[in-house]
């Protein structure tokens, strides 16, 4: 993988200059305009094509990266869209609120399997991170094109290059905002959800265009060198690909220092390294620590409540005065009301469920929760078949001080107002005196420090 401009071996006679490269496409309209542009390169642009030296660059290497991204990126995109649905946009609680037609067809997010959100969001984040080296490798393989002069020879080419700004800007924007979000560093100063969601659509529109235009070329390039044969070629036998119409193969290749298999092993190895340092944030016990450099690789404590939280009681402004003996849970339905203290809740039939709590930042943890079934609480105020339930927290401010649950999320037999976890009382950071836990529901909608639950009727009733 050499990117030498003037190789240290420059004084050594390199391979002889190749015969006539394939013809570049002819100029489009206005021919004179493009020709004049071609004759007036900006300072430094002339001769830059001579400086690319790596014999590895070529359609095949680009196509292999492209194929990996073509398989991986749609999965990242799709899991991202699913996660938007997991927030129940029908209640206006998915961000950004108004996305027009840029969304999947709506459906009620299921509660089964209970690990659904854990997997979709874990995959979104982990796969997104894993693909970073592939993205960078792909950009490395095509970067000489950026310095081509003239930048375009026709309107078609100009438009296509503009779409590449959306493609490259889009993927790097998504990677950057995503990485900053999962590490809580909002350096960008704009709303993450809005930017990440719409940025994804801009990127995907450019990706669809790019794939439609390049798919055939990618397949041709892949067929030109069977992978199985290519991985047997050592460094010294690595030769440049034949000249290609896109000009990815350099005109003056220098001596190579890495074989193609070496380059692929490097990119793949870096991907594995990132994956290995990421998956731990979804594991419990000692394996969590393997996410060495991520916030959720650390256990905040030991014992039955020593698992991560996404908001501390202190940050939520919930203190002992709010959660002490004076705390009451208010239940409402259709004008009826009930008020229960913690002892009254503990006196109700208790149910225990082993459920994951999974966060949009791609971390999750599986714990054993005990409490009162939400559907029992609904029945208590005569709302046997609620259409939804609106849960409010003691927390005053905060984006997630309240959440609305769908009917299936209220009625699932494992949906709880949890009072205890792993056999002990909840701690303040885990939502004492009571918190919601619902299978497959995003963690932030499993409201902590619950003050009130209002069961609402079905819209059609």
């Amino acid at each position: 993988m050499t990117t030498d401009r003037t190789s240290p071996a420059g004084d050594r006679p390199g391979p002889p200059p190749r015969t006539e490269p394939p013809r570049r496409p002819a100029y489009g309209f206005p021919r004179r305009g493009w020709a004049v542009l071609a004759e007036h390169p900006p300072p430094g642009a002339r001769g830059i094509g001579e400086r690319w030296r790596s014999p590895l660059r070529g359609p095949w290497l680009t196509a292999v990266h492209g194929l990996a991204l073509l398989v991986g990126l749609p999965l990242v995109f799709l899991t991202g869209l699913l996660d938007y649905l997991a927030y129940s946009p029908q209640f206006g609680q998915a961000f950004p609120h108004d996305v027009g037609w840029l969304r999947l067809p709506p459906f009620d997010w299921p509660t089964r399997p209970s690990w659904l959100f854990r997997v979709t969001q874990g995959l979104h984040v982990a796969l997104g991170i894993t693909l970073i080296p592939v993205v960078l490798g792909k950009l490395w393989s095509v970067i000489p094109k950026l310095f081509d002069w003239p930048p375009a020879r026709s309107v078609a080419q100009l438009l296509e290059r503009l779409s590449l700004v959306l493609l490259v800007g889009g993927i790097l924007f998504e990677i950057t905002t995503g990485l900053l979000n999962i590490q809580y560093a909002y350096l960008f100063g704009f709303d993450f959800y809005t930017a990440h969601y719409f940025g994804a659509w801009v990127f995907v529109a450019a990706l669809v265009t790019h794939v439609a235009l390049k798919l055939r070329r990618m397949l041709t390039a892949l067929r030109s060198r069977p992978l199985r044969a290519e991985v047997t070629v050592p460094r010294d036998a690595t030769r440049p690909e034949p000249p290609d119409p896109d000009g990815l193969v350099t005109a003056r290749p220098g001596p190579g220092t890495v074989s193609r298999r070496g380059a692929l092993a490097l990119v793949g190895g870096l991907s594995l390294l990132l994956a290995g340092l990421t998956v731990g944030q979804n594991l419990d016990g000692r394996w969590r620590r393997t996410a060495l450099l991520l916030p959720r690789g650390r256990q905040p404590g030991t014992g039955p409540t020593g698992f991560p939280v996404n908001r501390t009681a202190a940050a939520a402004g919930v203190g002992a005065a709010d959660t002490g003996a004076g705390w009451r849970l208010t239940l409402r339905a259709d004008g009826r009301q009930a008020s229960l203290d913690r002892a009254a809740l503990l006196a109700l039939p208790q149910h225990t469920a082993r459920l994951p709590i999974a966060c949009v930042e791609g971390w999750s943890t599986l714990q054993t929760w005990t409490g009162v079934r939400l559907r029992d609480l609904a029945a208590l105020v005569g709302a046997g078949q609620p259409g939804s339930a609106h849960v409010r927290s003691l927390e005053k401010a905060g984006l997630f001080a309240q959440a609305t649950l769908q009917a299936n999320q209220v009625l699932d037999p494992d949906s709880l107002l949890a009072l205890r976890v792993n056999g002990v009382d909840l701690t303040p950071d885990h939502g004492y005196p009571a918190r919601v836990i619902v299978p497959a529901l995003p963690g932030v909608h499993c409201t902590k420090w619950v003050a009130e639950i209002e069961f609402r009727g079905r819209p059609d009733a």
Partner: protein, 158 residues
């Protein structure tokens, strides 16, 4: 009609469906831009969007390419491409690249960015990350060095 198609193709530089695809692409981007134009932070979003591409193409790439060139010059061509045995250059490149990649990906923790939000979310500080990154990087260089030694020893024996 066929004549017209051919003339369009020559003037535009590609067949009609090329234009159709790109119009579709720009329509989505345009719709998003219009939708976001009302946001107070729209300018920042645009800046980060374009800035991400510029930062990669005109900062990150030149930096890593010229670092690599300097490394290659320092190592010397003979040890970069030895006639037999492992390449010292590659045994330096790989851990260096891995360490740099980890630094970029986990930069907020390593450089302790967003302390307040981090604390509110986790109840913890970002204290350990810099040392961990240094240790992981050192381990990568060490592993690569040991492997280099082994491979050289094996190459000499044969």
């Amino acid at each position: 009609m066929r004549d017209l198609t051919a003339r369009f193709r020559t003037a535009y530089g590609a067949p009609g469906r090329h234009l159709l695809l790109l119009v579709g692409c720009f329509a989505v981007a345009g719709w998003v831009a219009l939708r976001l134009a009302g946001e107070a932070t729209a300018g920042r979003m645009l800046l980060w969007f374009v800035g991400a591409a510029i930062a990669h193409d005109f900062v990150l790439f030149p930096v890593y390419a010229s670092t690599d060139r300097a490394l290659r010059a320092a190592v010397g061509e003979r040890r970069a491409r030895p006639a037999a045995g492992p390449s010292l250059l590659n045994h330096l490149r790989v851990p260096a690249l891995a360490a740099a990649l980890l630094f970029l990906v986990y930069l907020p923790g390593i450089l302790r960015q967003g302390r307040a939000t981090y604390l509110a979310a986790t109840g913890q500080d970002q204290q350990p990350f810099l040392a961990r990154w240094l240790l992981v990087s050192a381990a990568l260089f060490l592993a690569s060095g040991v492997l280099y030694g082994l491979r050289r020893w094996r190459a000499r024996r044969t």
